[in-house]
C-alpha cells in the first residue's frame, strides 16, 4: 500500500502558536519542547466517520421545543473545502455559543446575564455533497472573562470539524464583522497573520439574508490539504 501523502505544513503565521503571552491561559499549558515531526501513517491519515443516522443533525439553535430564543435571528452558511480547493462532503460540524445576552447554558458560566429557557446553544450539521453547510441561530452576545482588566470576548460561535483524517481535525471560532472587541481580544489576535485572522470573521451577505426573518452570514472554512507546498512558502 502506498504511504499516505504528507499534509501541507501551515503557512507561516496562519496558525496560532501555543504560547500567546497576552492570553494568560496559555502560560502554563504550552509545551516547552518542540513537537516531533511525524509523517502521516494510517493512524493520522484516517479518521472517524459520523453519519446523521447515528449522530442526528440539529441545524436550528434558534428554537427550543418550538419556542423562539431571544435575540437577533441569524443564518450562518458556508462551504468547507480543503487547501487544494476541493469540497469536503458529508463531514460533521459541531457548534456552540453563548445566548444573545452573552451567557452560556453551562453551569460554569456565572456571568450575571440572563439565561434563556429557549436557547441551549449547541448544534450539529453535516456538509452536503458540495461541502455546503447551513444553520440557524441567534447573534451571540459578548461576555466578560478574567484574562485582564475589562476583558470581553467578541461575539463568536465555536466550530468543531473533523474532515477526512484525524490530522484535519479543526476547532475554531467564527467572529462577526465590525465587532470593536476584536481589536482587544488575545485569542483572535493570537493568530499572527492579519489575513488569517480576517478569515475568521464571517461576511454579512444579503443573499443569505431572508426577508422578514433572519440576517445571513457566510463563513467558509478550509481544512488542511495534502497538495505540494506552494512555491515561496
Amino acid at each position: 500500500m502506498a504511504d499516505p501523502a504528507p499534509f501541507r505544513p501551515a503557512a507561516p503565521g496562519t496558525q496560532p502558536p501555543y504560547d500567546v503571552p497576552a492570553y494568560l491561559g496559555t502560560r502554563k499549558r504550552h509545551p516547552l519542547q518542540q513537537p516531533v515531526r511525524l509523517d502521516p501513517t494510517l493512524t493520522e491519515a484516517n479518521g472517524p466517520r459520523f453519519t446523521p443516522a447515528l449522530f442526528p443533525a440539529d441545524a436550528d439553535l434558534s428554537r427550543v421545543d418550538g419556542h423562539s430564543a431571544q435575540g437577533q435571528r441569524i443564518i450562518v452558511a458556508g462551504t468547507v473545502t480543503d487547501e487544494d480547493g476541493r469540497p469536503v462532503p458529508h463531514t460533521m460540524l459541531e457548534l456552540w455559543q453563548a445566548n444573545a445576552a452573552g451567557r452560556y447554558h453551562h453551569p460554569a458560566d456565572q456571568h450575571d446575564a440572563p439565561l434563556d429557557a429557549h436557547f441551549k446553544g449547541s448544534g450539529r450539521v453535516f456538509t452536503d455533497a458540495a461541502g455546503r453547510y447551513r444553520f440557524l441561530s441567534v447573534l451571540p452576545g459578548a461576555y466578560p472573562w478574567p484574562n485582564h482588566k475589562n476583558a470581553w470576548r467578541p461575539n463568536h460561535i465555536h466550530f468543531s470539524l473533523f474532515g477526512p483524517a484525524f490530522a484535519t481535525r479543526l476547532i475554531t471560532q467564527m467572529y462577526f464583522p465590525g465587532d470593536p472587541l476584536l481589536a482587544y481580544d488575545p485569542i483572535y489576535n493570537g493568530v499572527p497573520d492579519a489575513a488569517a485572522r480576517a478569515r475568521l470573521v464571517a461576511a454579512f451577505e444579503l443573499d443569505l439574508t431572508e426577508p422578514d426573518y433572519a440576517l445571513g452570514y457566510r463563513f467558509d472554512i478550509v481544512l488542511r490539504g495534502r497538495g505540494a507546498t506552494p512555491m515561496g512558502i
Binding site: 496558525q15 491561559g25 485569542i187 475568521l200
Partner: protein, 173 residues
C-alpha cells in the same frame, strides 16, 4: 491556493457539545479485548487541568457500526480523563513497517490555542522496540512519556504533562 482556517481554543464551555457516553467506545456492542485508559492532565505547575477535552482515535480494530474508533472524554476537577475501548493490535506503518499497538490522542482545552497530538503505546509490548514513531524520539525518558503503564487487569494509565518536567511528547503531523 486556499490556506487552512486558523485554530482557536476550544474554551471552557465545550461541554455544550459533549455526550459523556462517547468516552465508552464499546457502547455500541463492539466485541474484543476491553480495556480502560485513564490518566491525569497536568500543567506546567503540575496542577491538574480540568475541563480538558481529550479525544481518542484508533486505527485498530477497524471502525464499524459497532465500534466508532473515536471517543471523547472530559477531565474532571482532579484533571482525570477516562476511556473504555478495545485493545488495538499492530497496524501497518510507512514503507512496509509495522507499528506497535497504539492509540492517537488529541488534547484540547482553555489556554490551548491548538490541539496537542500524542500517542499512547502499551508497556511490555515487544513491538515497541521497533516502532518507527517511537523511534523518532531519541531520548528514552521522553519516549517513555508515550507508553501507558499497566494499572490492573485491563486497565492502563497514561498521564499527560503539558509543560515542564516529564513533558509529554507531542507530534506535529
Amino acid at each position: 491556493m486556499p490556506i487552512a482556517t486558523a485554530s482557536q481554543t476550544i474554551g471552557p464551555y465545550w461541554h455544550l457539545i459533549e455526550d459523556p457516553s462517547w468516552a465508552d467506545l464499546t457502547r455500541l456492542g463492539a466485541e474484543g479485548e476491553r480495556i480502560t485508559l485513564s490518566g491525569t492532565v497536568t500543567d506546567g505547575d503540575g496542577a491538574p487541568f480540568s475541563d480538558v477535552c481529550v479525544e481518542l482515535w484508533q486505527p485498530d480494530p477497524a471502525a464499524d457500526d459497532r465500534f466508532p474508533g473515536f471517543g471523547r472524554s472530559r477531565t474532571d476537577a482532579a484533571g482525570v480523563y477516562r476511556f473504555t475501548t478495545l485493545k488495538p493490535g499492530p497496524v501497518a506503518g510507512r514503507g512496509n513497517a509495522i507499528q506497535a499497538p497504539h492509540l492517537a490522542l488529541w488534547v484540547l482545552g482553555r489556554g490551548l490555542m491548538r490541539g496537542l497530538a500524542t500517542r499512547v503505546y502499551f508497556a511490555g509490548e515487544p513491538r515497541n522496540e521497533t516502532d518507527p514513531v517511537l523511534g523518532l524520539v531519541e531520548d528514552p525518558a521522553r519516549r517513555a512519556t508515550l507508553v501507558a503503564a499497566a494499572a490492573g487487569p485491563g486497565a492502563w494509565r497514561f498521564d499527560i504533562r503539558l509543560q515542564g518536567a516529564g513533558e509529554t511528547v507531542f507530534f506535529e503531523v
